[in-house]
Amino acid sequence: MPKDAHRDRALIVVPAWNEEQCVGATIAEIHRALPDAAVLVVDDGSTDRTVAVARAAGARVLELSYNLGVGGAMRAGFRYAVRNGYTAAVQVDADGQHNPHDLPVLLAKLAEADVVIGSRFAVRDDYQVGGPRRWAMVLLAKVMSRLAHTRLTDTTSGFRATGPRALPLFAEHYPVEYLGDTVESLVIALRAGCRVVEVPARMRARRGGRPSHRPIKAGIYLVRATFALLLALVRRWDVTVDLPPLPVLPEVESGITQ
Protein backbone atom coordinates (compact mmCIF):
# COMPACT_ATOMS: atom_id res chain seq x y z
CA MET A 1 0.00 0.00 0.00
CA PRO A 2 1.42 3.37 -0.92
CA LYS A 3 2.21 5.55 2.03
CA ASP A 4 -0.25 8.28 1.26
CA ALA A 5 -3.12 6.10 0.15
CA HIS A 6 -5.63 7.85 2.38
CA ARG A 7 -4.57 11.35 1.63
CA ASP A 8 -6.89 12.00 -1.24
CA ARG A 9 -9.97 10.68 0.54
CA ALA A 10 -9.28 12.09 3.97
CA LEU A 11 -11.76 14.26 5.79
CA ILE A 12 -10.41 16.57 8.45
CA VAL A 13 -13.11 16.91 11.10
CA VAL A 14 -12.90 19.98 13.31
CA PRO A 15 -15.36 19.94 16.20
CA ALA A 16 -15.96 23.53 17.24
CA TRP A 17 -18.01 25.07 19.99
CA ASN A 18 -17.89 28.85 20.20
CA GLU A 19 -14.46 29.02 18.57
CA GLU A 20 -14.85 32.05 16.32
CA GLN A 21 -11.46 33.33 17.52
CA CYS A 22 -9.46 30.27 16.50
CA VAL A 23 -11.36 28.23 13.95
CA GLY A 24 -10.38 30.39 10.99
CA ALA A 25 -6.67 30.13 11.68
CA THR A 26 -6.94 26.41 12.32
CA ILE A 27 -8.67 25.82 8.98
CA ALA A 28 -6.07 27.90 7.17
CA GLU A 29 -3.30 25.85 8.77
CA ILE A 30 -4.96 22.59 7.77
CA HIS A 31 -5.23 23.81 4.19
CA ARG A 32 -1.56 24.70 4.23
CA ALA A 33 -0.57 21.29 5.63
CA LEU A 34 -2.86 19.27 3.35
CA PRO A 35 -3.94 21.36 0.35
CA ASP A 36 -6.30 18.73 -1.13
CA ALA A 37 -7.96 17.49 2.03
CA ALA A 38 -11.58 18.37 2.69
CA VAL A 39 -12.16 20.19 5.94
CA LEU A 40 -15.43 19.66 7.78
CA VAL A 41 -16.16 21.88 10.73
CA VAL A 42 -18.80 20.45 13.03
CA ASP A 43 -20.40 23.36 14.79
CA ASP A 44 -21.61 22.04 18.12
CA GLY A 45 -24.45 24.46 18.68
CA SER A 46 -22.29 27.56 18.87
CA THR A 47 -23.89 30.85 19.78
CA ASP A 48 -21.16 33.00 18.22
CA ARG A 49 -20.03 33.41 14.62
CA THR A 50 -18.18 30.08 14.39
CA VAL A 51 -20.24 28.91 11.41
CA ALA A 52 -19.76 32.10 9.44
CA VAL A 53 -16.01 32.22 10.14
CA ALA A 54 -15.56 28.57 9.19
CA ARG A 55 -17.48 28.97 5.92
CA ALA A 56 -15.50 32.09 5.10
CA ALA A 57 -12.29 30.13 5.67
CA GLY A 58 -13.41 27.61 3.05
CA ALA A 59 -14.57 24.73 5.22
CA ARG A 60 -17.76 22.75 4.95
CA VAL A 61 -19.83 23.20 8.06
CA LEU A 62 -22.18 20.80 9.79
CA GLU A 63 -24.49 22.78 12.04
CA LEU A 64 -25.74 20.70 14.94
CA SER A 65 -29.08 21.92 16.24
CA TYR A 66 -27.93 21.92 19.85
CA ASN A 67 -24.81 21.12 21.84
CA LEU A 68 -23.99 17.42 21.69
CA GLY A 69 -20.44 17.46 23.08
CA VAL A 70 -17.26 16.39 21.30
CA GLY A 71 -18.44 12.79 20.96
CA GLY A 72 -21.66 13.79 19.23
CA ALA A 73 -19.88 16.26 16.98
CA MET A 74 -17.34 13.63 15.98
CA ARG A 75 -19.97 11.00 15.34
CA ALA A 76 -21.74 13.45 13.05
CA GLY A 77 -18.40 13.95 11.28
CA PHE A 78 -17.87 10.21 10.96
CA ARG A 79 -21.37 9.73 9.63
CA TYR A 80 -20.76 12.44 7.06
CA ALA A 81 -17.46 10.80 6.09
CA VAL A 82 -19.02 7.37 5.62
CA ARG A 83 -21.97 8.81 3.70
CA ASN A 84 -19.66 10.61 1.32
CA GLY A 85 -17.20 7.80 0.76
CA TYR A 86 -14.19 9.10 2.61
CA THR A 87 -11.67 6.49 3.67
CA ALA A 88 -10.15 8.36 6.57
CA ALA A 89 -11.13 11.01 9.08
CA VAL A 90 -8.85 13.01 11.33
CA GLN A 91 -9.98 14.97 14.34
CA VAL A 92 -8.33 18.33 14.77
CA ASP A 93 -9.51 20.54 17.60
CA ALA A 94 -10.56 24.04 16.61
CA ASP A 95 -8.68 25.71 19.45
CA GLY A 96 -5.33 25.26 17.74
CA GLN A 97 -3.99 22.77 20.27
CA HIS A 98 -3.39 20.17 17.58
CA ASN A 99 -0.73 21.08 15.08
CA PRO A 100 -1.95 20.47 11.53
CA HIS A 101 1.67 19.99 10.41
CA ASP A 102 1.50 16.53 11.92
CA LEU A 103 -1.49 15.59 9.76
CA PRO A 104 0.51 13.94 6.95
CA VAL A 105 2.31 11.80 9.54
CA LEU A 106 -0.95 10.62 11.07
CA LEU A 107 -2.46 9.86 7.66
CA ALA A 108 0.63 8.00 6.48
CA LYS A 109 0.53 5.84 9.59
CA LEU A 110 -3.00 4.75 8.67
CA ALA A 111 -1.35 2.42 6.17
CA GLU A 112 -0.55 0.12 9.07
CA ALA A 113 -3.21 0.83 11.67
CA ASP A 114 -6.91 1.59 11.91
CA VAL A 115 -6.66 4.31 14.53
CA VAL A 116 -3.61 6.54 14.87
CA ILE A 117 -3.29 8.70 17.97
CA GLY A 118 -1.18 11.84 18.01
CA SER A 119 0.43 11.50 21.42
CA ARG A 120 1.40 14.47 23.54
CA PHE A 121 3.78 12.43 25.66
CA ALA A 122 5.70 10.65 22.95
CA VAL A 123 7.74 13.82 22.48
CA ARG A 124 9.39 15.54 25.40
CA ASP A 125 8.29 19.11 25.23
CA ASP A 126 6.23 21.66 27.06
CA TYR A 127 3.16 19.53 27.52
CA GLN A 128 3.44 18.70 31.22
CA VAL A 129 0.84 17.49 33.64
CA GLY A 130 1.18 16.44 37.26
CA GLY A 131 -0.76 15.22 40.26
CA PRO A 132 -3.99 13.26 39.99
CA ARG A 133 -4.44 14.20 36.36
CA ARG A 134 -1.09 12.61 35.59
CA TRP A 135 -1.97 9.45 37.53
CA ALA A 136 -5.22 9.15 35.63
CA MET A 137 -3.40 9.43 32.32
CA VAL A 138 -0.77 6.88 33.38
CA LEU A 139 -3.48 4.45 34.49
CA LEU A 140 -5.39 4.87 31.26
CA ALA A 141 -2.21 4.48 29.23
CA LYS A 142 -1.23 1.28 31.09
CA VAL A 143 -4.59 -0.38 30.64
CA MET A 144 -5.04 0.69 27.05
CA SER A 145 -1.50 -0.35 26.09
CA ARG A 146 -2.24 -3.81 27.43
CA LEU A 147 -5.49 -4.00 25.48
CA ALA A 148 -3.88 -2.70 22.30
CA HIS A 149 -0.76 -4.87 22.57
CA THR A 150 1.33 -1.83 21.79
CA ARG A 151 2.65 1.12 23.72
CA LEU A 152 0.14 3.94 24.05
CA THR A 153 1.15 6.91 26.17
CA ASP A 154 -1.68 9.35 25.58
CA THR A 155 -5.09 7.78 25.34
CA THR A 156 -7.01 10.98 26.04
CA SER A 157 -5.59 12.82 23.07
CA GLY A 158 -8.27 14.01 20.70
CA PHE A 159 -5.78 14.30 17.85
CA ARG A 160 -6.34 11.06 16.00
CA ALA A 161 -6.81 9.61 12.56
CA THR A 162 -9.39 6.93 11.79
CA GLY A 163 -9.00 4.60 8.85
CA PRO A 164 -11.51 2.85 6.58
CA ARG A 165 -12.10 -0.11 8.88
CA ALA A 166 -12.85 1.86 12.02
CA LEU A 167 -14.79 4.62 10.25
CA PRO A 168 -18.15 2.80 9.85
CA LEU A 169 -17.76 1.49 13.38
CA PHE A 170 -17.34 4.97 14.81
CA ALA A 171 -20.10 6.37 12.61
CA GLU A 172 -22.46 4.00 14.38
CA HIS A 173 -21.01 3.56 17.85
CA TYR A 174 -18.89 6.58 18.73
CA PRO A 175 -19.50 7.17 22.45
CA VAL A 176 -20.82 10.52 23.57
CA GLU A 177 -20.24 10.31 27.29
CA TYR A 178 -17.46 11.73 29.43
CA LEU A 179 -14.08 10.55 28.05
CA GLY A 180 -16.08 8.32 25.74
CA ASP A 181 -14.77 10.04 22.65
CA THR A 182 -11.21 9.23 23.66
CA VAL A 183 -10.90 6.20 25.95
CA GLU A 184 -14.07 4.27 25.27
CA SER A 185 -13.83 4.73 21.52
CA LEU A 186 -10.42 3.03 21.66
CA VAL A 187 -11.90 0.13 23.63
CA ILE A 188 -14.65 -0.25 21.03
CA ALA A 189 -12.14 -0.18 18.19
CA LEU A 190 -9.93 -2.77 19.89
CA ARG A 191 -12.88 -5.03 20.69
CA ALA A 192 -13.84 -4.94 17.03
CA GLY A 193 -10.35 -6.07 16.12
CA CYS A 194 -8.92 -2.77 14.96
CA ARG A 195 -5.27 -1.91 15.40
CA VAL A 196 -4.44 1.21 17.37
CA VAL A 197 -1.01 2.87 17.33
CA GLU A 198 0.34 6.24 18.29
CA VAL A 199 2.74 8.70 16.76
CA PRO A 200 4.42 11.61 18.50
CA ALA A 201 2.61 14.89 18.00
CA ARG A 202 3.59 18.25 19.31
CA MET A 203 0.77 20.02 21.09
CA ARG A 204 0.56 23.75 21.43
CA ALA A 205 -0.92 25.94 24.09
CA ARG A 206 -4.55 26.63 23.40
CA ARG A 207 -5.23 29.95 21.84
CA GLY A 208 -8.41 30.50 23.76
CA GLY A 209 -9.56 28.87 26.98
CA ARG A 210 -7.32 27.15 29.46
CA PRO A 211 -6.83 23.56 30.55
CA SER A 212 -7.72 22.88 34.15
CA HIS A 213 -4.83 22.03 36.42
CA ARG A 214 -6.32 22.77 39.79
CA PRO A 215 -5.96 19.92 42.28
CA ILE A 216 -9.63 19.38 43.11
CA LYS A 217 -10.60 19.39 39.47
CA ALA A 218 -7.73 17.03 38.73
CA GLY A 219 -8.91 14.73 41.53
CA ILE A 220 -12.41 14.66 40.11
CA TYR A 221 -10.87 13.94 36.74
CA LEU A 222 -9.05 10.93 38.18
CA VAL A 223 -12.25 9.51 39.65
CA ARG A 224 -14.28 10.12 36.53
CA ALA A 225 -11.58 8.78 34.24
CA THR A 226 -11.27 5.61 36.31
CA PHE A 227 -15.02 5.16 36.26
CA ALA A 228 -15.21 5.81 32.53
CA LEU A 229 -12.45 3.27 31.96
CA LEU A 230 -14.13 0.59 34.07
CA LEU A 231 -17.42 1.26 32.36
CA ALA A 232 -15.79 0.98 28.96
CA LEU A 233 -14.15 -2.31 29.93
CA VAL A 234 -17.27 -4.01 31.25
CA ARG A 235 -19.63 -2.77 28.58
CA ARG A 236 -20.70 -5.18 25.93
CA TRP A 237 -19.87 -4.20 22.40
CA ASP A 238 -21.13 -6.57 19.77
CA VAL A 239 -19.11 -4.96 17.07
CA THR A 240 -17.21 -6.22 14.10
CA VAL A 241 -15.54 -4.61 11.16
CA ASP A 242 -16.25 -5.66 7.62
CA LEU A 243 -12.94 -5.12 5.91
CA PRO A 244 -10.03 -7.54 6.25
CA PRO A 245 -7.28 -6.51 8.64
CA LEU A 246 -4.41 -4.43 7.38
CA PRO A 247 -1.17 -6.21 6.62
CA VAL A 248 1.52 -5.72 9.22
CA LEU A 249 4.27 -3.80 7.55
CA PRO A 250 7.73 -5.31 8.02
CA GLU A 251 9.39 -2.30 9.62
CA VAL A 252 6.91 -2.08 12.46
CA GLU A 253 6.28 -5.77 12.93
CA SER A 254 8.00 -5.92 16.28
CA GLY A 255 5.98 -3.07 17.71
CA ILE A 256 2.55 -4.25 16.74
CA THR A 257 1.29 -7.68 17.53
CA GLN A 258 -2.38 -7.70 16.77
Binding site: V51, R55, R60, Y66, L68, Y80, R83
Partner: protein, 138 residues
Protein backbone atom coordinates in the same frame (compact mmCIF):
# COMPACT_ATOMS: atom_id res chain seq x y z
CA UNK B 1 -65.79 3.66 58.17
CA UNK B 2 -65.03 7.21 57.16
CA UNK B 3 -61.42 6.44 56.35
CA UNK B 4 -62.65 3.48 54.36
CA UNK B 5 -64.75 5.79 52.20
CA UNK B 6 -61.88 8.25 51.71
CA UNK B 7 -59.58 5.45 50.64
CA UNK B 8 -62.19 4.04 48.30
CA UNK B 9 -62.82 7.39 46.63
CA UNK B 10 -59.05 7.97 46.41
CA UNK B 11 -58.43 4.64 44.68
CA UNK B 12 -61.29 5.22 42.29
CA UNK B 13 -59.91 8.68 41.44
CA UNK B 14 -56.46 7.22 40.72
CA UNK B 15 -57.98 4.59 38.48
CA UNK B 16 -60.17 7.14 36.72
CA UNK B 17 -57.16 9.42 36.21
CA UNK B 18 -55.13 6.64 34.62
CA UNK B 19 -58.07 5.67 32.43
CA UNK B 20 -58.61 9.26 31.35
CA UNK B 21 -54.93 9.69 30.42
CA UNK B 22 -55.15 6.50 28.41
CA UNK B 23 -58.38 7.61 26.74
CA UNK B 24 -56.84 10.92 25.70
CA UNK B 25 -53.88 9.04 24.27
CA UNK B 26 -51.48 10.81 26.62
CA UNK B 27 -50.08 7.54 27.92
CA UNK B 28 -48.65 4.94 25.60
CA UNK B 29 -49.97 1.44 25.90
CA UNK B 30 -46.90 -0.11 27.52
CA UNK B 31 -47.14 2.26 30.51
CA UNK B 32 -50.92 2.21 30.58
CA UNK B 33 -51.08 -1.51 31.36
CA UNK B 34 -48.59 -1.11 34.20
CA UNK B 35 -50.49 1.73 35.85
CA UNK B 36 -53.88 0.14 35.30
CA UNK B 37 -52.66 -2.93 37.18
CA UNK B 38 -51.42 -0.67 39.99
CA UNK B 39 -54.75 1.15 40.12
CA UNK B 40 -56.78 -2.06 40.21
CA UNK B 41 -54.54 -3.55 42.94
CA UNK B 42 -54.99 -0.39 44.98
CA UNK B 43 -58.75 -0.61 44.58
CA UNK B 44 -58.86 -4.27 45.56
CA UNK B 45 -56.76 -3.62 48.66
CA UNK B 46 -59.05 -0.74 49.61
CA UNK B 47 -62.20 -2.76 49.25
CA UNK B 48 -60.78 -5.80 51.08
CA UNK B 49 -58.33 -4.44 53.65
CA UNK B 50 -58.07 -7.86 55.29
CA UNK B 51 -56.44 -9.20 52.19
CA UNK B 52 -53.29 -7.25 53.05
CA UNK B 53 -53.22 -8.65 56.58
CA UNK B 54 -53.65 -12.23 55.45
CA UNK B 55 -51.04 -11.90 52.73
CA UNK B 56 -48.50 -10.37 55.13
CA UNK B 57 -49.19 -13.12 57.63
CA UNK B 58 -48.64 -15.68 54.93
CA UNK B 59 -45.34 -14.07 53.92
CA UNK B 60 -44.31 -13.67 57.54
CA UNK B 61 -44.40 -9.92 57.98
CA UNK B 62 -45.77 -8.78 61.37
CA UNK B 63 -47.09 -5.38 60.37
CA UNK B 64 -49.21 -5.39 57.18
CA UNK B 65 -48.34 -1.82 56.21
CA UNK B 66 -44.66 -2.82 56.07
CA UNK B 67 -45.51 -5.25 53.30
CA UNK B 68 -47.30 -2.44 51.48
CA UNK B 69 -44.33 -0.07 51.87
CA UNK B 70 -41.83 -2.71 50.86
CA UNK B 71 -43.71 -3.68 47.71
CA UNK B 72 -44.34 -0.01 46.94
CA UNK B 73 -40.69 0.99 47.26
CA UNK B 74 -39.44 -1.93 45.19
CA UNK B 75 -41.99 -1.08 42.54
CA UNK B 76 -41.02 2.60 42.49
CA UNK B 77 -37.31 1.77 42.20
CA UNK B 78 -38.16 -0.45 39.28
CA UNK B 79 -40.14 2.30 37.61
CA UNK B 80 -37.31 4.84 38.13
CA UNK B 81 -34.77 2.47 36.63
CA UNK B 82 -37.01 1.83 33.70
CA UNK B 83 -37.50 5.56 33.11
CA UNK B 84 -33.73 6.19 33.24
CA UNK B 85 -33.26 3.47 30.70
CA UNK B 86 -35.97 4.90 28.46
CA UNK B 87 -34.45 8.35 28.76
CA UNK B 88 -30.95 7.16 27.85
CA UNK B 89 -32.39 5.49 24.79
CA UNK B 90 -34.40 8.54 23.80
CA UNK B 91 -31.36 10.77 24.29
CA UNK B 92 -29.32 8.57 21.99
CA UNK B 93 -32.08 8.65 19.41
CA UNK B 94 -32.44 12.43 19.48
CA UNK B 95 -28.67 12.78 19.22
CA UNK B 96 -28.59 10.64 16.11
CA UNK B 97 -31.44 12.68 14.66
CA UNK B 98 -29.58 15.93 15.38
CA UNK B 99 -26.43 14.57 13.73
CA UNK B 100 -28.25 13.40 10.64
CA UNK B 101 -30.20 16.63 10.48
CA UNK B 102 -26.94 18.59 10.41
CA UNK B 103 -25.65 16.38 7.57
CA UNK B 104 -28.87 16.84 5.59
CA UNK B 105 -28.72 20.59 6.10
CA UNK B 106 -25.24 20.71 4.64
CA UNK B 107 -26.23 18.50 1.73
CA UNK B 108 -29.24 20.68 1.02
CA UNK B 109 -27.04 23.75 1.08
CA UNK B 110 -24.61 22.14 -1.36
CA UNK B 111 -27.44 21.03 -3.65
CA UNK B 112 -28.60 24.61 -3.80
CA UNK B 113 -25.17 25.68 -4.88
CA UNK B 114 -24.34 27.09 -1.50
CA UNK B 115 -26.82 29.90 -1.76
CA UNK B 116 -29.91 30.44 0.26
CA UNK B 117 -32.51 30.43 -2.49
CA UNK B 118 -35.38 32.76 -1.80
CA UNK B 119 -35.87 31.87 1.81
CA UNK B 120 -39.54 31.68 2.65
CA UNK B 121 -40.67 33.82 5.55
CA UNK B 122 -41.24 30.69 7.62
CA UNK B 123 -37.73 29.21 7.18
CA UNK B 124 -35.59 32.30 7.33
CA UNK B 125 -33.08 30.67 9.66
CA UNK B 126 -31.89 28.06 7.15
CA UNK B 127 -28.70 29.72 5.94
CA UNK B 128 -29.46 33.35 6.42
CA UNK B 129 -25.99 34.49 7.41
CA UNK B 130 -23.65 36.40 5.18
CA UNK B 131 -21.24 33.50 4.83
CA UNK B 132 -23.71 31.51 2.77
CA UNK B 133 -22.82 33.26 -0.46
CA UNK B 134 -19.69 31.15 -0.82
CA UNK B 135 -20.08 28.21 -3.19
CA UNK B 136 -19.79 24.76 -1.72
CA UNK B 137 -16.64 22.92 -2.62
CA UNK B 138 -16.35 19.28 -3.44
Amino acid sequence: MNSYLVALVGSLLVLAGIFELLRRRQLSEKYAVLWLVVGVLLLVLTIFPRLLSSVSRAVGIAIPTNLLFFVGIVFLIGVCLHLSWEMSRLENETRKLAEDLAILRLELLELRGGEPRYPEPGQQELVADESAGRPAQD
